[in-house]
């Protein structure tokens, strides 16, 4: 009887505390006006990406040379058309799918690599030296240069861009996770787990990793901004999306040749990138402030 009381007594407050922390963070985040604006933009963009076919009646890659370079607010094409007569609005809508998917894939792969390396480096002292030297080596390249080196090896495509950005994200993520692991593994409850014979894997994934979530979530949100911006930049350089894929960076690159006659072909995709990157940046900032303003991400 006494045992049952102790167990329920232990579990209930823990659950309550977790909910409480989550709600508290959410409340703090929602008090931040910029973060709320960012959240709204992200929700709208995700909705736009999911329901893309319903948002437009035009095919984003279908050419119609009879209606090329129509200005904005033209009949049937409220954002105009490009030099091949493709509807700019539908290219923007479908482009949001590409940006989000590439961003999510790149950040997820980067987290997978970074968290694994960070956990191993932080937990096993013997591995730490080697892992951190690899991280230092990757850090000795400016990010975009590392991505370009990887694309030079793998070839130009959107999938390779995602892989390149993910590898670029690994060192930063590994350092953040390692830092958290180093401080958490000295805590008494980890010592207690060790003393009762818990396996290393169990301690790492069940007891240390969940406590590193806060910096990881903030990092992932801010990294989405970097990933979307870099995907656009690499596609602009001709190293990512290839024509006729409706990718925002590639749209700017194609539109630049018609900047004199149709500036909207350059300006509109730029605004789309800017809003998305801005949204992820302010939500990331807001999350950091809500969780811990002194967090080093």
């Amino acid at each position: 009887m006494a045992e049952t009381v102790t167990v329920t007594g232990n579990e209930r407050p823990k659950k309550k505390k977790k909910e409480h922390e989550f709600i508290l963070t959410a409340k703090k985040l929602l008090k931040n006006k910029l973060a709320v604006i960012g959240l709204i933009i992200i929700i709208l963009q995700v909705g736009m990406a999911i329901f893309a076919p319903m948002m437009t009646s035009h095919d984003p890659v279908k050419q119609n040379l009879a209606a090329s370079e129509l200005p904005i607010f033209s009949e049937g094409h409220w954002l105009g058309t490009d030099n091949y007569g493709r509807d700019v609005w539908s290219r923007i809508v479908f482009g949001s799918r590409i940006s989000l998917v590439v961003g999510i894939v790149a950040v997820s792969l980067g987290l997978l690599g970074g968290v694994t390396l960070g956990l191993l480096g932080g937990y096993y002292k013997k591995l730490d030296g080697i892992i951190m030297r690899i991280v230092d080596l990757l850090f000795s390249f400016p990010g975009i240069l590392l991505a370009m080196l990887i694309i030079a090896v793998l070839g130009t495509s959107l999938i390779n861009v995602a892989i390149a950005i993910s590898i670029w994200s690994i060192p930063a993520c590994a350092r953040i996770v390692r830092g958290s692991v180093l401080s958490i593994k000295e805590k008494e409850y980890i010592m207690a787990m060790k003393s009762v014979g818990a396996s290393d894997l169990r301690i790492m994934f069940k007891h240390i990793l969940p406590n590193c979530f806060a910096p990881i979530i903030v990092f992932a949100t801010m990294r989405m901004a970097t990933a979307i911006l870099s995907t656009a930049a690499l596609s602009y350089l001709g190293l990512g999306a290839q024509p006729p894929t409706p990718e925002w960076g590639a749209m700017i690159s194609q539109g630049q040749a018609f900047m004199w006659s149709s500036p909207h072909l350059t300006i509109i995709p730029g605004i789309a990138i800017m809003l998305t990157v801005f949204a992820f940046n302010v939500v990331g900032d807001g999350l950091r402030d809500a969780i811990d303003p002194n967090m080093d991400v």
């Binding site: 000795s140 400016p142 090896v153 930049a233 730029g270 990157v277 801005f278």
Partner: protein
């Protein structure tokens, strides 16, 4: 201090070996046969074999790497598959443009960033602060290649005040400076935003410090409090951001060179990647990474002068 510099110098040598190994092995693993690329579609099997033998491509990986490093030490980066031009020469011709762009952008970033951050901190919570903070947020969200295109549209195409692109005149001439303005603003804005954010938060922190209050209580002039007591100490974290960003600017030149059709190392690299000209890619990546590491080392050394509290173990 000297011990630290010597230690860092040895670390740098190891790091440079690591970088060259990573770059060389990446290119080694890349699909495609260099000998067939050089020979072209008309080359016979025996021609290709002769090229392979000549370039030492039949040698084991480590032998090839050792001979590449041997060349590197003597400043020989190999020959382009595409043009047969010496990679070192091709880079040497373009490097001044890249450095000019990076330095000019850094100057723009420091001036705009520190000014915006200072105004923001000194006029805390005013509309100037809001404006400056918004600029900083926009600065890190705007794609610089897009901003470059918009600047060209406004200042080169519509107003015709500045040239559309290119960089052929010496920097100290009026023409040369005009050519630098738009690319430097394009590349410098992102870094300016980071510097502004750091200057603002650092100033706000220092301005509330006890010793600043003491200075005011002693009756020190407000201008002396700001310029001598506050700014000097607030600049230490800003210097870190400046250092980190200078390295990133070197990477950023790649995109800006493409936007403004500047004949620099970045554009050379993009063209080489598109043509799968591996020695050229290898050489230019190696150079930019080396510069990046060197800049970071110099920044680290400068820190110890600026802030004697920093000790490198």
């Amino acid at each position: 201090m000297i011990g630290m510099i010597i230690r860092r110098f040895f670390q740098l040598i190891f790091l440079l070996f690591g970088i060259s190994f990573l770059v060389f092995s990446s290119m080694y693993l890349a699909p495609g046969d260099p000998a067939s690329m050089i020979g072209g579609p008309t080359a016979s099997e025996s021609d290709i074999e002769a090229i392979r033998e000549n370039l030492g491509l039949n040698e084991p990986f480590l032998t090839q790497y050792a001979s590449y490093v041997g060349g590197l030490v003597q400043g020989d980066l190999g020959y382009s598959y595409q043009t047969r031009q010496s990679v070192s020469e091709a880079i040497a011709v373009r490097l001044p443009n890249t450095l000019k762009l990076a330095i000019a952008s850094m100057i723009v970033a420091i001036i705009i960033g520190i000014l915006a951050g200072l105004i923001s901190a000194l006029k805390h919570n005013s509309w100037l602060d809001v404006g400056s903070t918004t600029f900083a947020l926009a600065g890190i969200s705007i794609p610089n290649f897009w901003m470059g295109a918009v600047l060209i549209l406004v200042f080169a195409v519509n107003l015709q005040w500045l040239p559309v692109g290119g960089m052929s005149s010496p920097w100290y001439t009026i023409e040369g400076m005009k050519e630098l303005i738009l690319p430097a603003i394009t590349l410098g804005t992102g870094a300016a935003a980071m510097i502004a954010r750091m200057t603002r938060s650092s100033m706000l922190e220092v301005i509330r410090a006890d010793y600043v209050r003491t200075a005011r209580a002693k009756g020190v002039k407000e201008s002396s409090v700001i310029w001598i007591h506050t700014l000097k100490n607030a600049m230490i974290p800003v210097l870190t951001v400046i250092g980190v960003n200078f390295g990133s600017l070197l990477g950023g030149t790649i995109i800006t060179e493409k936007v403004f059709a500047i004949n620099g190392v970045g554009r050379l690299m993009i063209d080489a990647i598109a043509a799968r000209d591996f020695p050229m890619v290898q050489g230019s990546v190696l150079l930019v990474a080396t510069l990046f590491v060197l800049v970071n080392l110099i920044v680290d050394i400068v820190y110890t002068y600026v802030d004697p509290r920093i000790k490198y173990q």
